[in-house]
């Protein structure tokens, strides 16, 4: 029997999609970790003159001459006879872009003060901004907010899965090991949580708290509520495998030497389930991301001015708004890509973990 890891690598070569998934995730997580460095602007730093500005045009030619590094021009807007915003570039004032520039003062990971960013406008002028993906109503850079928003959307899955793991392992492992009455009771109990559609249960638990909580409180509340919903399914999977593994000889051997039940479960049975557990975890992370996005979308999740991909999309619910500023929909693409990447990865892992294939 090949090691799981070796099998995994072999399988991955056969799954180009999984590789794409891994690449996307690595990319996003890298951005998330170094968010303050990568985002050219602070998440709440808006310039009102840039209200709903379209993505900044990057020019490689200024006054018909090729320039490197490329330049951008300051934007301003005025209204035409239809009260439509007309954005004007002031081509008399070029500003060079540069790598590793001085920018807003922020704290990397919230502790280390830095003022250099991956890229930006040389000199960090206030009146000329590089908005790669356009801006929102109050002139904040959408790209920066998406980068900061990834902190919420990408971590919520892991933290939630950690809690689910804990609960699921314990309950599932114990249930499968002991079997019989204990198994029945525990599993029926776990099934309770799968009886109500997840969104209904999510909102019901959310209603326990006032609609508007601080973002940090909501963040942890969401993690707790979502774990509540997800753990049962996970427990059942672990239980299934635990049942089979318990019947094996080495478990009987361990019992005969007098090892305690708990020790057997934790040290012998659960490690065997690890490969499946990882698959289940990978495939359930999207549920957390979507759960948080859904809550923030309808206003019960992360609040302004903090950003999460879900609450960035909540402005898109006003259809007439996005007709003129469609870039508001871009955070949805990030959610989509992340979910897709996890699904690809999970699929590949599942194939790898399946000894039949």
């Amino acid at each position: 029997m090949m090691l799981f890891e070796t099998r995994l690598l072999k399988k991955l070569k056969k799954h180009p999609l999984a590789i794409i998934g891994i690449v996307i995730l690595c990319f996003f997580y890298l951005i998330m970790i170094f968010a303050e460095f990568i985002a050219p602007y602070d998440f709440d730093n808006g310039k009102r003159d840039y209200s709903y500005a379209p993505p900044t045009k990057i020019h490689f030619f200024h006054e018909n001459k090729f320039t490197f590094p490329p330049v951008i021009y300051p934007y301003s807007y005025t209204f035409n006879q239809y009260a439509e915003r007309i954005y004007l570039e002031d081509i008399s004032k070029p500003y060079k872009l540069s790598i590793f520039t001085k920018g807003d003062r922020v704290k990397l990971f919230g502790i280390i003060p830095i003022n250099r960013h991956l890229f930006g406008v040389k000199g960090n002028p206030d009146n000329c901004r590089l908005y790669l993906l356009g801006s929102d109503a109050v002139g904040r850079d959408l790209f920066s907010r998406i980068v900061y928003g990834s902190r919420v959307s990408l971590t919520i899955g892991f933290l939630g899965v950690a809690i689910t793991f804990l609960l699921g392992f314990l309950v599932g492992g114990i249930s499968g090991y002991y079997g019989g009455k204990i198994d029945s009771v525990l599993m029926r109990f776990a099934e309770c949580f799968m009886l109500v559609p997840s969104f209904f249960l999510l909102l019901a638990l959310r209603s326990a708290f006032p609609p508007k909580l601080s973002s940090i409180q909501v963040y942890f509340l969401i993690i707790i509520i979502l774990s509540f919903i997800e753990w049962a399914g996970f427990a059942r999977i672990i239980r299934g495998m635990s049942l089979t593994i318990t019947k094996q000889d080495f478990v009987k051997a361990a019992k005969s030497i007098g090892a305690s039940d708990l020790r057997i479960i934790i040290l012998h049975i659960l490690p065997q389930t690890l490969s499946y557990a990882i698959v289940a975890a990978t495939l359930s992370i999207p549920h957390y991301i979507l759960g948080e996005s859904a809550l923030s979308l309808i206003g019960l999740g992360i609040q302004e001015p903090q950003a999460s991909w879900g609450n960035l999309l909540s402005v898109a619910m006003n259809v007439s708004d996005i007709q003129y500023h469609p870039w508001i929909l871009i955070p949805g693409i990030f959610i989509f890509l992340t979910v897709m990447a996890f699904n690809f990865l999970g699929d590949a892992l599942r194939d790898a973990a399946d000894p039949n294939k």
Partner: protein, 601 residues
């Protein structure tokens, strides 16, 4: 190999996706500038408008955001109901929607004694209720003595307007076509208040006698039993869907050729719960009239010819929109502590604090960002569209962060510990909650900007959206658990009808309601102004007093004003006799509007 072909497809799809987004972001070419509207010219034209003789028939489809809760003009407090009852019931006086002056309505003329206390109204002849009963002075006497002034009918929004310093006017019949009112004290707004709807005695007397009047004229009442003198009568009401009015064939008003008005056969209101849907329906022609927001103006204006409608901009709306700080000094009898803690009182009650906030509000951005440039900064309690009493000469607070910080520094506020937030002279960080009502996207956006503006000053602001009713509860009732709120009020032509807000004893004196004695000199002065001006019959003398009131309000800023939006009306070109007016909108002469066979004048 097959996978690579696969991937190529994916890349193509992804690129086309992004290409689409980027194509939408092409900067448009300028084709013109936002038109400067000459409102005085529009007003003049409206005043000199001569209606054409119209043709009978057709209907107009309007929209409403909520169901009416009743059809009872006496007991109802909400705007939707008043809009509907104004079609069915009229008053002795009619306020001309264009000039805002009182005109003969169901009374064709009136006399007033020299002391302003005795009024005699001569009822118009040949006016009939829709069930053919003649209209008479008995109906007027019944409406006032048995309904408006009746203490056992509650709630009763009309009564508040006619009870002056606790005393009621005496209403009596002189003959079947003449009514006499004797006021206890001179009451300047009296004539305006006589736009009060008159209800038929023969239908409702028995309800009053049995004590059931508050339940009559409800949404369950059969429409054919509703009898009025107005141009339209209720035909049917389907909850959450539609309210239909039909033409009153016995309406007394006639056009210049002697034809009985109104021309339209029906006025239909669709109950629309979704603003986006309403806009789309208007553009498709399913609704004939729309009151639009600034941000929808571009899409509406562009399709004017195609959609066969016209978009009118008619100046600032009436009403006001402001930030209030809680200035309540009273003590909670249960806990013996003040409702608003002393530290916060010291900030909010300091005029320099409020003026600093006023200077920090970026009104230009609010107008440009939220309303697409179609709005106006507001400086005082009245709006230019409210006519005669409006005083444009009040203190203005241009957007000036430096000046704001300077004012705060003068009042002892500064960042003593370098944490980015400012503290007062005692070292307390200026931290407070800031609420506005949820459910209104425009207001939410304005509040966001205001919050950011206040944070620029170094305040720690906790912003929350609350449901409208919860917000009102907090303001109206102990323990007055709020710090700063952004809210709006409807306005009116007659300042005295805002007394509940401005008098220190008022229930709507939001920053410190129901005071036993005025807590500041300026509130005392405003009290005096309101108590005095109501009794003066000379309009110009009243104006001097109300001008002073507006100056005080703008100087002391109990309400820190923000912006007024532009009135934007859209109406299908099918209709004739449309007379746009900054004061009245475009449906003010609904009884003269008709479906014209040609397009537009």
């Amino acid at each position: 190999m097959k996978e690579t072909r696969f991937n190529i497809i994916k890349i193509i799809l992804a690129t086309s996706f992004f290409a689409f987004f980027y194509s939408c972001t092409q900067t448009q070419k300028i084709s013109g500038e936002l038109e400067q509207i000459d409102y005085t010219a529009i007003q003049k034209k409206a005043e000199n408008f001569v209606p054409k003789i119209g043709t009978y028939g057709g209907e107009i489809i309007l929209s409403s955001f909520s169901d009416p809760k009743s059809f009872n003009p006496i007991t109802s407090t909400e705007v939707t109901t008043s809009e509907f009852t104004s079609y069915m019931y009229e008053g002795l006086i009619k306020i001309n929607p264009v000039t805002l002056k009182p005109e003969p309505g169901l009374a064709e003329k009136w006399e007033v004694s020299n002391d302003g206390l005795t009024w005699i109204f001569y009822i118009r002849k040949n006016v009939f209720w829709s069930d053919s009963t003649p209209f008479s002075a008995y109906d007027v006497e019944f409406t006032f003595n048995s309904l408006v002034l009746n203490d056992s009918i509650n709630p009763n929004s009309s009564r508040d307007m006619f009870v002056i310093e606790g005393k009621k006017p005496k209403v009596s019949i002189i003959d079947s076509m003449t009514v006499k009112f004797v006021l206890p004290i001179p009451f300047a707004p009296f004539l305006r208040a006589m736009a009060q709807e008159i209800l038929p005695k023969h239908k409702y007397e028995k309800y009053v006698k049995s004590g059931n009047f508050s339940n009559s004229l409800g949404i369950q009442t059969p429409p054919d039993s509703m009898v009025g003198t107005g141009p339209f009568l209720l035909e049917s009401f389907i909850s959450s869907q539609k309210v239909t009015f039909r033409r009153n064939p016995l309406y007394w008003q006639k056009d210049s050729a002697g034809n009985r008005l109104p021309y339209l056969s029906r006025v239909i209101y669709l109950i629309v719960l979704d603003q986006n849907a309403e806009l789309l329906r208007f553009k498709r022609g399913e609704i004939d009239y729309l009151r639009a927001k600034g941000e929808d103006y571009p899409t509406l204006k562009k399709d004017e010819t195609k959609g066969n409608y016209t978009v009118y901009r008619l100046g600032p709306t009436s009403g006001s929109y402001f930030i209030i700080f809680n200035q309540n000094t009273s003590i909670d009898p249960k806990t013996k502590k003040p409702y608003v803690d002393f530290v916060k009182q010291s900030w909010f009650r300091n005029p320099k604090f409020r003026k600093a906030v006023a200077h920090a509000l970026d009104k230009e951005s609010m107008i440009r960002i939220v309303m697409n440039g179609l709005g106006y900064p507001q400086w005082g309690p009245m709006s230019p569209s409210e006519g005669f009493f409006y005083n444009p000469n009040v203190e203005k607070y241009p957007y000036d962060i430096t000046k704001a910080k300077q004012l705060l520094a003068e009042a002892g506020f500064s960042d003593k510990n370098g944490d980015g937030f400012i503290e007062d002279s005692a070292g307390n960080t200026v931290e407070f909650s800031f609420y506005t009502n949820s459910g209104n996207i425009e207001r939410g956006k304005l509040a966001e900007i205001a919050r950011k503006d206040m944070e620029q000053l170094g305040f720690k602001v906790h912003f929350q959206l609350l449901e409208f009713n919860s917000l009102i509860q907090k303001i109206d009732n102990p323990p007055y658990a709020w710090d700063a709120i952004m809210l709006g009020l409807t306005g009116g032509v007659e300042p005295h009808f805002g007394k509940n807000v401005w008098h220190s004893t008022g229930t709507l004196h939001m920053w410190f309601p129901r005071q036993k004695a005025p807590s500041t000199l300026w509130e005392a002065r405003i009290d005096t102004i309101f108590d005095t001006a109501v009794k003066i019959l000379d309009e110009n003398k009243r104006k001097t007093l109300y001008d002073e009131w507006q100056k005080i309000a703008a100087d002391q800023l109990p309400l820190i004003y923000t912006v007024l939006k532009e009135q934007i009306f859209c109406i299908s070109n099918r209709f004739g006799n449309i007379n746009p007016s900054p004061n009245g909108g475009i449906l003010h002469n609904l009884e003269r509007i008709y479906v014209s066979s040609k397009n537009k004048n």
